[in-house]
Amino acid sequence: MLATNDSRSEAKNEACGLEPGESKELVWIDVCAMDDVLPGAGAAALIEGEQIALVRTMDGVLYAISNFDPFSRAFVIARGIVGDRGGVPKIASPIYKQSFDLRTGVCLDDSNVRLPVYPVRVVAGRVQVCPVPRRVA
């Protein structure tokens, strides 16, 4: 998770669930302009063979989560509706409507299911993603 306004990189890494200083080992890939992802909506990206959904909440936070819907086995998560459940930012699959926590990838309707989530940041108006799933405690 990352605030979209450009804050200090230390803070960013913390928000990504990374150890401070770990950012040097991450490979960031330039994906698109921030404006390509509408607030309150998702957009799919193809990054080194992986389909990753970039999701922007209404309050301006950007997330990266797998585009794979494990319930329908279609690559469609980015086309779901973005919102919150009890304050938890989430996206609902457009096929059977299961919701996923955007921060952890955990399915809010079936806690046995979890989608990979990826480090993401915005640099000079460009969205950058590291296509290696984050470790989530």
């Binding site: 309150g40 389909q51 919102g83 609902a92 457009p94």
Partner: protein, 853 residues
């Protein structure tokens, strides 16, 4: 490769139940599971086999598909029965010559029909009644036959007789015992049953022992009975009971019961510790069981045992309830009053042809069992009295009598049951479990409750009880729980509609800021988008609205199971020119789309990837087509018959009126989809009474019907106004549709809306026809605004390059979505199933995106 091998012999209902249970308990991950079955298809519902003759095909009876087994990771060998078990080497040999090694073996071989040893029992046109293949053979023979005899008047025999009746044969039932269903009902019950069944045209022959079957010179069959009488017929169905299929086990040296069946202990373990037997082939405590509920219980016990959990078979519930030839029969608990000191109350109604019997404990406080013939509506609740030992009170006889009109119901209500009450004995589900699931998951429809709890999905006899529980829970929820749209808005949809309209709110952002909280969700966003569209009719992909739309509205197409979309251009009233037909064909071919005719007289084109949609629509718009709104909760179609345009019976121009209505209401966003139809005469070829609004032409004008529904719960439309002219149809429809749009709940079809509306159709008529609320002019004006601001959403979209850019599979690449893979079928193509994709991937023929573990 440390996974253990688990081999299952038999893929009937119980074998299937074992596999689903095993998969749920994670055994498929720890074991390599192999199933071999004799029949050519995966498990199907044998309990409801007779429905095969009522229009259900093999697929409708299926409990599972080959793909589903494949997805579970279970190896399924159909049409390859086991022929031998080598217990020393722990191997199973199959007919095809395969050798399957096992660590654990589960026998679910079921039973075979018992055919009495009567000379001539193997003549052509003699059948048994067990598999779909048997039924197909009976069906084929029945096509050349006039009469049929079922030998056996038990439960299965009467099922078979019902099947012969539905095949149009004169049916006879021959029973050796002096009454029908001797195992389930007593003499009085048997007499009522016989009376009812004979009234349906089935001839019943009791106390008859068949001694031979011979072929007559004319090619028919003749049955001879021990009493010297004879009966001529065209075909014979043996249904004289079943016998456990224990031959494999017998040959392998496992212990076999005195009366057949593989001997098992309470954990269903046979005399060999690594072999289990479940279902009809197993003999537990010296008995075999021919009902599905005990078999399911055994399947669960073995799956749980193998998963290291504690489980054992207790006493089985042998209650049965069925509808034979439309006659209800129920038998439950100690139906024959075998308990010492038991007392009996019975009701024999020779006029209504109903027999009910209750068996009470010696102290008359508890119900031990009973039987019901002719009316089994109280079966589920009476059975729960038995299972839960509920006190029947001082007047147990009240349980026999149906509630008197207007009086308080005297039968047991669901609210009296304790939470521990067993509701579904097939799947062992209690009232407490069902109510908890309904509450916690917020279920509102019976199918969802059945799916989530499995209750009612076995024999189906408890379905009414489950429905009552749901109703009671919903009533309770209505009292204690709010009917807010969702956690983000403390208002109903109706209230939000009012707020939007009166306060002139035009965006979701403003509405949630001023009248809600949080960020919204997949429930309130599309609901509010629909309210805004019904009120202001803005272009739905405007920047502030786009993120609110469900994927279908957001991409103006219908998403399919693989994430591709289908496209349906409007073909108003189903009238289409040859040139338009050619254009559709050409466009479908150009873009590689699968085509199918819809139920709404249109053409659906499938398999479009996101980035193809604008190009497809550019071609469609150029050919003069406009959006069909098949993707929206909006007006879909107004279907029509050809009416007086061509038809010799047509009395009005049904196509003309349907065109007028479809073009008037196209694009109208509503709480749910809307369908209409116009029929040109009373023959009703357009099926107008199955639509949200339907018009049927009369000699004097049109009859207007509203609130019909096809789909899951069909409901006929009801008459709103008779013999009105076309302008009045339009005026009433303007008011009716707007009234519905304003007041219905989200995703509530007109039929459900009407059912829940206080005052029903009379109230609707007062509002729409008599203008009792004084809002008719307002409703008409609102509709006029929608009609006057109509735009083809696709045309608007194509005019704006920024909008077209939204239709990309990837924000950073023009690569077509590599996860979309098609396979050929019936000269067209369809999305590959997951298993097919995996195979193509292994063969290196496709590149799939990385699938997260």
């Amino acid at each position: 490769m440390s996974r253990k091998q688990l081999v299952v012999i038999g893929n009937g209902m119980v074998g299937h139940r074992f596999l689903t249970e095993a998969a749920e308990l994670g055994l498929v991950a720890t074991h390599h599971v192999i199933v071999c079955g004799e029949e050519p298809r995966p498990a199907y519902d044998r309990v409801h086999l007779s429905q095969f003759f009522e229009g259900k095909d093999a697929a409708a009876l299926a409990l599972a598909t080959v793909e589903e087994y494949e997805q579970l990771g279970i190896e399924l060998r159909l049409g390859d029965p086991a022929v031998a078990i080598d217990r020393n080497a722990k191997r199973v040999h199959t007919r095809s010559g395969a050798t399957l090694e096992y660590d654990t073996l589960v026998l679910a071989t079921g039973s075979r029909p018992f055919v009495p040893n009567v000379p001539g029992n193997d003549l052509p046109n003699c059948f048994v009644y067990r598999t779909i293949e048997d039924l197909e053979a009976i069906r084929d023979a029945a096509a050349r036959a006039e009469s049929g005899v079922v030998i056996g008047g038990g439960l299965l025999g009467l099922e078979a007789a019902g099947a012969l009746v539905s095949l149009g044969l004169a049916a006879h039932v021959v029973e050796f015992m002096p009454r029908l269903m001797p195992l389930q009902v007593d003499d009085a019950g048997g007499a009522v049953l016989r009376d009812r069944i004979e009234a349906l045209g089935v001839q019943v022959h009791l106390g008859k022992q068949t001694t031979s079957i011979t072929r007559t010179a004319s090619g028919s069959l003749e049955l001879a009975f021990a009493d010297g009488s004879r009966l001529e017929t065209d075909l014979v169905v043996f249904s004289a009971g079943i016998r456990a299929r224990d031959d494999l086990a017998r040959a392998a040296g496992l212990s076999i019961g005195d009366r057949g069946g593989i001997v098992v202990d309470a954990r269903c373990r046979t005399s060999d510790a690594s072999i289990y037997a479940i279902g009809e082939c197993a003999s537990l405590g010296g008995k075999t069981y021919g009902l599905v509920a005990p078999g399911y219980r055994m399947a669960e016990v073995v799956a749980r045992t193998l998963a290291g959990k504690d489980a054992a078979c207790g006493d089985f519930d042998l209650s049965t309830k069925l509808k034979l030839l439309g006659v209800d029969v129920g038998s439950f608990g100690d139906a024959f009053a075998a308990t010492p000191g038991a007392r009996v109350i019975s009701l024999f109604d020779g006029v209504a042809r109903v027999y009910k019997k209750l068996v009470l404990s010696a102290d008359r406080r508890r119900l031990l069992g009973g039987m019901l013939v002719g009316d089994a509506s109280s079966y589920a609740s009476l059975q729960s009295y038995v299972q839960n030992g509920i006190d029947v009170g001082d007047h147990p006889e009240a349980l026999l009598v149906p509630p008197s009109q207007g009086g308080a119901p005297s039968g047991p209500g669901v609210e009296n049951l304790p939470d521990s009450a067993l509701v579904c004995s097939c799947h062992n589900v209690t009232k407490g479990t069902i109510c908890t699931v309904i509450r916690e998951q917020g279920l509102a429809e019976l199918p969802a409750v059945k799916k989530c709890t499995k209750a009612g999905t076995g024999c189906g006899s408890c379905a009414t009880l489950v429905a009552d529980l749901l109703k009671a829970e919903l009533v309770r929820a209505g009292v204690t729980v709010n009917n807010h749209l969702c956690e983000h808005f403390p208002h109903t949809r109706q209230e939000l509609f009012h707020i939007v309209r009166v306060r002139g709110i035009r965006t979701f952002e403003q509405l949630i800021r001023e009248h809600g909280r949080g960020q919204g969700c997949e429930i309130c966003k599309p609901a509010v988008a629909s309210i805004l569209a019904s009120t202001w009719n803005d272009y739905i992909l405007k920047k502030e609205h786009a993120g609110l739309q469900d994927t279908n509205d957001r991409y103006l197409a219908n998403i399919q199971r693989d994430g591709t979309y289908s496209v349906v251009p409007r073909v108003a009233a189903g009238e289409i020119t040859p040139d338009q037909l050619i254009a559709l064909g050409t466009i479908a071919k150009k873009h590689g789309l699968y085509t199918k005719i819809t139920g709404g007289q249109r053409i659906d084109m499938f398999g479009a990837r996101l980035e193809q949609l604008p190009a497809i629509w550019r071609d469609l718009v150029d050919a003069g087509f406009e959006s069909g709104h098949a993707y929206g909760k909006a007006l879909r179609t107004v279907k029509s018959c050809v009416g007086s345009t061509w038809c010799r019976y047509g009395v009005q121009d049904s196509v003309g009126l349907a065109l007028r209505l479809e073009h008037r209401y196209k694009g109208l966003r509503s709480p749910h989809k809307l369908k209409g139809a116009v029929s040109g005469c009373a023959r009703e070829c357009a099926e107008a009474q199955g639509k949200d609004f339907g018009v049927i032409a009369t000699e004097r004008g049109f009859n207007l019907y509203v609130c019909g529904n096809g789909g899951m719960k069909p409901q006929h439309a009801v008459l709103l106004a008779a013999d009105i002219d076309a302008d009045t149809v339009v005026r009433y429809l303007d008011r009716f549709l707007m009234f519905y749009v304003r007041t219905a709940d989200r995703l509530q079809r007109t039929a459900t809306w009407l059912n829940k509306l206080e005052g029903g159709i009379d109230y609707v008529r007062k509002v729409v026809v008599d203008d009792s609320l004084g809002i008719a002019a307002e409703l008409e004006a609102d509709m006029a605004r929608i009609v006057n601001t109509y735009q083809c959403e696709w045309k608007t979209t194509l005019e704006d390059p920024d909008k077209v850019r939204m239709f990309r599979s990837f924000v950073n690449s023009d690569t077509p979505d590599p996860s979309v893979v098609f396979v050929r079928e019936r000269e067209q193509h369809r999305p590959a199933f997951w298993s097919e994709k995996q195979r193509l991937l292994e063969q290196g023929r496709v590149r799939l995106p990385v699938v997260p573990a």
